[in-house]
């Protein structure tokens, strides 16, 4: 029954927004803005850019709600997430910021150990992802969180599929290294205590 209520809820919201009901827009915004902010923030690190991406995303969501097709529970959330991801990636590509990796880090250590993330808070994991260089970060996000294939990523970013794969490998290794360093840091703090 809860699912049925949610179905009515998502479809009703969409229908109301299509009619131009502002209260429904506010409601949708309130329900999902924190989630969508977290999604966008994985891609876009600058606060002003983040704000722009979210603003544009919501405007796009409201204006193209007519294109949304309900496909089960959570489909509205997923649809909005896709819009936010596309806006984020679009902004990154448009900006083309020139960013240098620190010297010596262009060949991240490829550790064979299993990376332990259980003990790391989500906010820390989120922060570590945001710390990745934009190219690595974008591809890792698209592969891991949006579950896109390297072929789809290559099409979206207009790169070769092999490039997406190799970039993803480096990104993963870099993130693993960061997590490992964070563990060491936490451990050293624990010992100090």
């Amino acid at each position: 029954m809860r699912e049925k209520e949610q179905i009515r809820s998502e479809q009703d919201i969409a229908a109301a927004i299509l009619r131009g009901d502002i209260a429904s827009k506010k409601y949708l915004y309130s329900c999902y803005v924190r989630y969508l902010t977290a999604v966008a923030a994985r891609y876009v690190t600058d606060d002003n850019d983040l704000r722009d991406v979210l603003q544009e995303s919501f405007l796009k969501i409201f204006s193209s709600i007519g294109n949304f097709e309900y496909r089960g529970e959570g489909s509205l959330k997923a649809w909005m997430c896709r819009i936010v991801v596309n806006e984020s990636v679009g902004l990154l590509r448009k900006q083309c910021r020139f960013e240098a990796l620190p010297d010596g880090d262009d060949e991240p250590i490829l550790t064979q150990e299993e990376t332990d993330i259980d003990s790391i808070p989500l906010s820390e994991l989120h922060r570590l992802i945001r710390e990745l260089p934009p190219g690595y970060r974008t591809i890792l996000n698209l592969y891991v969180f949006e579950e896109k294939s390297h072929r789809e990523i290559a099409e979206q970013l207009n790169i070769k599929e092999s490039t997406s794969a190799s970039q993803f490998h480096r990104a993963k290794a870099l993130l693993a290294d960061k997590i490992k360093k964070l563990h060491k840091h936490n451990l050293s703090i624990a010992y100090e205590k």
Binding site: Q55, L92, C96, F98, A100, L122, G135, V144, N158, K172
Partner: protein, 417 residues
């Protein structure tokens, strides 16, 4: 390396939330209201492509009328210009070496039953039916008032055809006393000024930028191969993002050959060469790139010109026409500066060599330095059609351009027998 921890990462962070930026909803609301107002205030404007279509249709109509006037027999010009082997008055006079004015004046003042200095025209003396212009010569000796010999619609007064022509067209230079000549004109011209004029800087959406990620450029022993991965679309640059193209004004040189089928008309063709240069720059989070695109075109133009008026040695005319050009070679060269790595130089020749079609209209002024040599300047407007290629050229960014042609024309006169 296993991906289990990444799967775990995804699952753990699936519903992760964080605080939205302050004032975001207000900004959304404001922006949304602004867009609604803008939508309400949009004026009805004719879409740009309709305007272009209308202008093209107008240019085509003008060109069509000009061409029609050249080839339509019902033209007062034919009073002067012999259109066939059968002699008309002026031609008779011309053949006999006498001044045409005199002969025509004789014809005008001749009484209907008086002597005829005019020859009998053949049935085909003037090609096609002539509702407005009757043959000057007539076999009918019955009463015909002198002022009705010329049955052209205007004017009725018994002017010589030369005088009438002179009056109508305001100071047209005197007709040569010799037989009518047809002229060939060879021209050399140039247009555009390299490096001068506006730069059409543009961000191009048409050029998705491919490949050569940082990783590949570092690792690959042959960055050229990775970078220029697509041979199909030469303008693809090896980077993520979009490149800025700064187009320089095209430079064109032409050799033209024109023919004068009638005193005021010129029909011409020739060969043109154009050089298009664009500076490209691009920055991404991978690296920085600066480059240059160089395109070479050769083409064949077709133009029709009409002389509006002449004064002493200065001739003012209008012309319209089109051109078909083919890219004969194109090259893009760039320097890539990935961070931490020394710069790479990459150069690629374009495989795609599209055709470029255009139409143009211009007004020109020609100064005849000598009877055979003229110096001209010709400001005009051109429209370049989309070549449906992936190339980024100034013609794509500015299909309508103003151009300034200048050059020399050499007249080679040949006589009609």
């Amino acid at each position: 390396m296993k991906n289990d921890w990444l799967k775990k990462l995804r699952d753990r962070m699936a519903d992760y939330e964080m605080d939205a930026p302050d004032g975001l909803w207000d900004a959304i609301e404001k922006s949304s209201a602004g867009k609604r107002d803008a939508a309400a205030n949009i004026r009805r404007v004719v879409p740009a492509n309709w305007r272009r279509a209308a202008a093209l249709a107008a240019a085509a109509a003008v060109a069509g009328v000009l061409l029609w006037k050249v080839f339509t027999p019902a033209s007062p010009l034919l009073l002067i210009e012999p259109a066939s082997d059968a002699p008309l008055t002026s031609d008779v006079a011309a053949v006999s070496g006498e001044s045409p004015e005199l002969r025509i004046a004789d014809a005008v003042t001749a009484k209907p039953q008086g002597r005829r200095t005019l020859s009998q025209p053949s049935a085909n003396s003037i090609s096609g039916p002539q509702p407005d212009v009757q043959p000057i010569a007539c076999s009918d000796t019955t009463a015909t008032a002198p002022d009705t010999i010329f049955t052209a619609p205007e004017p009725k007064k018994p002017l010589s055809s030369y005088d009438r022509y002179h009056d109508e067209y305001h100071a047209l230079p005197p007709l040569p006393a010799k037989k009518t000549q047809h002229k060939f004109v060879v021209g050399l011209n140039a247009s555009g000024m390299k490096g001068a004029g506006g730069n059409a800087g543009t961000q191009s959406d048409r050029f998705p930028i491919s490949d050569c990620s940082h990783g590949n450029c570092l690792a690959s022993p042959n960055p050229t191969e990775d970078a220029l991965s697509s041979r199909r679309a030469p303008a693809k640059l090896p980077e993520m993002g979009k490149a800025d193209f700064h187009h320089k004004m095209p430079v064109r040189a032409a050799l033209s050959l024109s023919y004068q089928p009638a005193p005021r008309w010129m029909v011409g063709t020739g060969v043109t060469y154009s050089y298009l240069q664009s500076d490209i720059d691009h920055q991404s989070f991978m690296y920085k790139m600066q480059g240059q695109q160089q395109l070479h075109y050769m083409g064949v133009p077709l133009n029709v010109s009409y002389l509006i008026c002449s004064w002493r040695r200065l001739n003012i005319y209008v012309s319209a026409g089109g051109a078909a050009e083919k890219m004969i070679s194109g090259k893009m060269s760039a320097e890539y500066k990935p961070f931490g790595i020394r710069a790479e130089h990459i150069s690629e020749s374009f495989e795609e060599k599209p055709w470029q079609f255009s139409v143009n209209a211009a007004m020109g002024a020609q100064l005849d330095i000598t009877p055979a040599i003229g110096l001209y300047v010709e400001p005009g407007v051109s429209h370049y059609f989309d070549d449906h290629s992936e190339l980024n050229t100034i013609y794509k960014d500015r299909p309508w351009t103003f151009n300034l042609n200048f050059g020399l024309r050499f007249t080679i006169a040949t006589s009609k027998r």
